[in-house]
Symmetry: C2
Subunit: 92 residues, 2 copies
């Protein structure tokens, strides 16, 4: 997972730790109100979804309800074109 500080996009892989990603999501949400996370492949998408479920629990005591908005994103990478999933994570 790397954190692009200009756009605050969390890049998540199948090896990312969901609780760690959840912590990062929570920090960005508290600071900026919204967050984006993206991953390529089922393993990465699954880790993002688990992280969002965990992050919902982290912020719920503060009266914040997080929702996720998934979209397809075509990436032109050195290894070829890849379709990623990007999640916007926002307060409801």
């Amino acid at each position: 997972m790397s954190n692009d500080t200009t756009a605050t996009i969390l890049r998540v892989s199948s090896k990312s730790n969901p609780a760690s990603v959840a912590g990062a999501i929570t920090g960005v949400i508290r600071e900026r109100g919204r967050c984006e996370a993206q991953g390529i492949g089922a393993g990465a998408v699954n880790q993002i979804v688990k992280a969002i479920a965990i992050a919902r629990g982290y912020v719920a005591p503060n009266g914040i309800e997080l929702v996720a908005i998934p979209a397809f994103l075509d990436l032109d990478l050195p290894e070829g074109e890849r379709t990623a999933i990007r999640f916007a994570i926002e307060r409801r």
Copy 2:
């Protein structure tokens, strides 16, 4: 994918077709305003996420914006305990 008509939970597997699941989500949303989808494992979760992204496009022309709310769900199945992900899919 099977459709539990009492609770309208779409059960999605890694082999489910995302466009078909998206069509089912769209139908339930239009009829009931909300929908639930659940799956076990990264492949199934990934198909659900793709289906939600597609369904967002299906209903957007009607001024409906869908959001997803993922949660963990412990299932006691004949093959043992499994942790599923259940998505509530709702109008924003």
